[in-house]
C-alpha cells in the first residue's frame, strides 16, 4: 500500500466557490441526462404547452389589450419553462439528493451550504435559460414577433424568474419528505401560476380586482416583465412593482430555506 506516498500539491490547488460549484454542477448535469422523468418534464412539456396557449389565443380579444398572439405565447412559454424545467425538476433534485444522503456528504466537505444548493441547481437553471432562448427564436420565427421594445425588462424578468424558481424549489423541498411526494408538492405552484399568472389568460383581460390579487403571485412579475418588455406597454411604475414582487418572493424562498431546509432525511 502506498497510502503515505503523496503527490505534491500545486500552489493553486485551493478550491474556490466557483470551482466547487462547477464540479458539482457537472455531476448534476450528468445525472439530469440520466433521469428520464425529469428529462421529459424539462424538455418536452415547455416546448409543447405553448401550442395550447396559441390555440386559446384564438378566442381572446388580444388587440383590445394591446397584445398579439406572439406577446401572449412567448411570456407563457417562459413560464412553462421556468415551472417545468427549473422549478419541478429542482424540487425532485433536492429531495432525492437528500434521501440519498448526498447533501449530508457534501456538507462534510469544503462546499458551503449555498454552494451545494446553487451548484445542484445550476444545470436545471441553465436548461431553463437555454430553453427560453430557443422559445424566443421559435416565437419570433413562427408568430411574427417584432423586435422587443425594452429588451432589458425581458432579461431582468428571465433572470429573476430563474433565481426565484430555484429558491422556491429549495423551499418546496423543505416541506417534501420523499422522492415520491416530490411529484405532488410542486403542483400547487404549477396550477396557481398557470391559472393566475397571466400565462393562459393575460392579467389585462381579467377583472381588475382579480388582476390585483394575481399580480402578487410569484410568477406574475416574471410574465409581466417579459410581456411588457416586448410590447413596451409597461410603465416604469409597473415595472418597479413587478421587480419588487419578484424580489419579495425570492427573499421569502431564501428565508424559508434558511429556516426549514433539511440536509438529511428524518430518522
Amino acid at each position: 500500500m502506498s497510502a503515505t506516498q503523496t503527490t505534491p500539491r500545486p500552489a493553486t490547488a485551493m478550491t474556490t466557490p466557483l470551482s466547487r460549484m462547477t464540479a458539482l454542477a457537472r455531476a448534476e448535469l450528468t445525472l439530469l441526462g440520466r433521469t428520464k422523468g425529469a428529462l421529459v418534464a424539462a424538455l418536452f412539456v415547455p416546448l409543447v404547452m405553448p401550442v395550447s396557449v396559441r390555440s386559446a389565443a384564438e378566442e381572446m380579444d388580444l388587440a383590445g389589450a394591446g397584445l398579439s398572439p406572439g406577446t401572449l405565447v412567448l411570456p407563457a412559454a417562459f413560464g412553462f419553462s421556468l415551472l417545468f424545467a427549473v422549478y419541478s425538476v429542482l424540487v425532485g433534485v433536492f429531495v432525492v439528493r437528500r434521501e440519498e444522503l448526498v447533501l449530508k456528504r457534501l456538507r462534510t466537505g469544503e462546499l458551503r451550504d449555498a454552494e451545494i444548493l446553487g451548484g445542484s441547481a445550476l444545470p436545471a437553471v441553465l436548461t431553463g435559460l437555454a430553453q427560453c432562448l430557443l422559445l424566443t427564436a421559435g416565437c419570433v420565427a413562427l408568430l411574427d414577433l417584432s423586435a422587443p421594445s425594452a429588451p432589458h425588462l425581458i432579461v431582468l424578468g428571465l433572470l429573476l424568474g430563474l433565481v426565484m424558481c430555484a429558491a422556491l424549489a429549495a423551499a418546496t423541498a423543505s416541506f417534501t419528505k420523499t422522492g415520491e411526494s416530490a411529484q405532488a408538492t410542486p403542483m400547487p405552484l404549477l396550477m396557481v401560476s398557470m391559472i393566475g399568472s397571466g400565462m393562459f389568460l393575460p392579467l389585462e383581460l381579467m377583472p381588475d380586482r382579480v388582476a390585483s390579487v394575481c399580480e402578487l403571485l410569484p410568477l406574475t412579475p416574471v410574465v409581466t416583465l417579459v410581456r411588457g418588455g416586448w410590447t413596451g406597454n409597461l410603465s416604469g411604475y409597473e415595472a418597479l412593482g413587478a421587480l419588487a414582487t419578484a424580489m419579495a418572493w425570492i427573499l421569502i424562498g431564501v428565508f424559508a430555506v434558511r429556516r426549514w431546509f433539511r440536509w438529511e432525511p428524518r430518522r
Binding site: 500500500m1 500545486p10 478550491t15 458539482l24 456538507r107 466537505g109 469544503e110
Partner: protein, 323 residues
C-alpha cells in the same frame, strides 16, 4: 494545544448532543486525540458514537460543551477546518446513477489539493470499477469508495464512521492496513467501530462508549489490564469444587459453576494455571474442555454493558467479588 510534546488535534470537553425530540444522545463526554494517533470510539449500536462523530465533523451544533479540531470550532469555523479533514460517513451518500469515476471527479473538484482520483481509487482497490454505476456496487465496494473520497485531499485528520462495516474479512484487513499506513504517515484518525477486534488491532487509544457516556478510556492494554483472565474446565467425574485446592490461594478472584463446568477469574493467570494443572497432575485426572484466556477488550466491553444493564435493573452498581 501542546502537552508532553504532543499536539492535541482533537479536543472534546463536556460534549452534549440533544435531538429534536429531547433525546440526549451524547451526555457530557471529554477526550483528546493527539497528532498521528488512531483513536477508536467503541460501543454498541445506539451508544452515541455517530452522534459524537457528527459533532466533530461539524455537521451539527453541540447542545453543550466544546469541540476543537486543529484548534478550530468545526461547526462555526467550517472554512478553516474542512480543507484539512477527510470524512467517511456511516452510509455512502453518493448519487446512485453516477459512475465511480464520475463520483470521484466530482468530489475531487470540491477538495483543495486533491490527489488524482485514479490514485485514490487504486489505493482502495476500486480501479477496475471506475466505469461502474454506484448503484451496482456491493456494500463493501461502496464503503471503499467512501474511504477513497475521504482520502482525496490528503487530510491531516480523518474521521471514519464504521469504516469496515459491510466489508468481508479480506476487505477489512486491507482497510486496517491502509489506515495503519496513513497513521504511520502522520495522519490523525478518529474512527468508530462496534468490532472489538478492529479497535484492538488498530487503535492506539480508545474510549468505550455506552449510553452517551464514555465508560472507560485508554490504550487497549490499559483498558484490558483492569479485567481478569479466565480459565474454564470440566470437573473430572467424582470431583467437586471443594476438592480443588483453595482457590484464594491460587489467586482466583471469583468463580462460578455451570453443571460440571467451572469458570475462574484471575488477575494472575500463570499462578492460577500452574496451581490448577499441578493439582490435576497429582490427582491424575484430565481437565476436559480446558480453556485459558488472557483478558481481552471483549471482557472489558461485555463487563461495561453488563454493569450498565444491571445498574438499570437494580439502580445500583453490581460488584465483582473481591479476592
Amino acid at each position: 494545544m501542546e502537552s508532553n510534546g504532543h499536539e492535541h488535534v482533537i479536543e472534546v470537553t463536556d460534549l452534549r448532543r440533544v435531538y429534536g425530540g429531547g433525546f440526549e444522545a451524547v451526555r457530557g463526554i471529554s477526550f483528546t486525540v493527539r497528532r498521528g494517533e488512531i483513536f477508536a470510539l467503541l460501543g454498541t449500536n445506539g451508544a452515541g458514537k455517530t452522534s459524537t462523530v457528527e459533532l466533530l465533523e461539524g455537521l451539527a451544533e453541540p447542545a453543550g460543551g466544546r469541540v476543537r479540531v486543529l484548534g478550530h470550532d468545526p461547526y462555526t469555523e467550517r472554512a478553516a477546518v474542512r480543507p484539512r479533514t477527510g470524512v467517511m460517513l456511516q452510509e455512502g451518500g453518493f448519487p446512485s446513477e453516477l459512475t465511480v469515476a464520475e463520483t470521484a471527479r466530482m468530489w475531487a473538484g470540491c477538495v483543495s489539493g486533491a490527489r488524482p482520483p485514479a490514485e485514490v481509487l487504486a489505493l482502495v482497490g476500486l480501479e477496475t470499477k471506475a466505469g461502474t454505476r454506484v448503484k451496482q456496487l456491493s456494500g463493501g465496494q461502496r464503503r471503499r469508495l467512501d474511504l477513497a473520497l475521504a482520502l482525496l485531499g490528503d487530510p491531516e485528520v480523518l474521521f471514519l464512521d464504521e469504516p469496515s462495516t459491510g466489508l468481508d474479512a479480506e476487505g477489512r484487513r486491507a482497510t486496517w492496513e491502509l489506515v495503519s499506513a496513513l497513521r504511520d504517515g502522520g495522519t490523525t484518525v478518529l474512527l468508530t467501530t462496534h468490532y472489538l477486534e478492529e479497535a484492538e488491532n488498530l487503535a492506539d487509544r480508545l474510549a468505550i462508549m455506552h449510553d452517551g457516556r464514555i465508560a472507560t478510556t485508554g490504550t487497549p492494554a490499559e483498558v484490558t489490564a483492569a479485567e481478569p483472565s479466565r480459565i474454564s474446565f470440566e470437573l473430572p467425574d467424582g470431583y467437586f469444587v471443594g476438592d480443588l485446592p483453595p482457590l484464594g490461594g491460587l489467586g482466583v478472584a471469583g468463580h462460578e459453576t455451570d453443571g460440571r463446568l467451572v469458570r475462574l477469574r484471575t488477575h494472575e493467570l500463570q499462578r492460577t494455571a500452574t496451581g490448577l494443572l499441578m493439582w490435576a497432575a497429582q490427582a491424575g485426572v484430565e481437565l476436559r474442555r480446558l480453556d485459558m484466556r488472557s483478558a481481552s477488550l471483549e471482557e472489558a466491553f461485555l463487563g461495561i454493558a453488563k454493569n450498565a444493564s444491571a445498574e438499570q435493573a437494580t439502580g445500583m452498581t453490581t460488584k465483582e467479588y473481591a479476592a
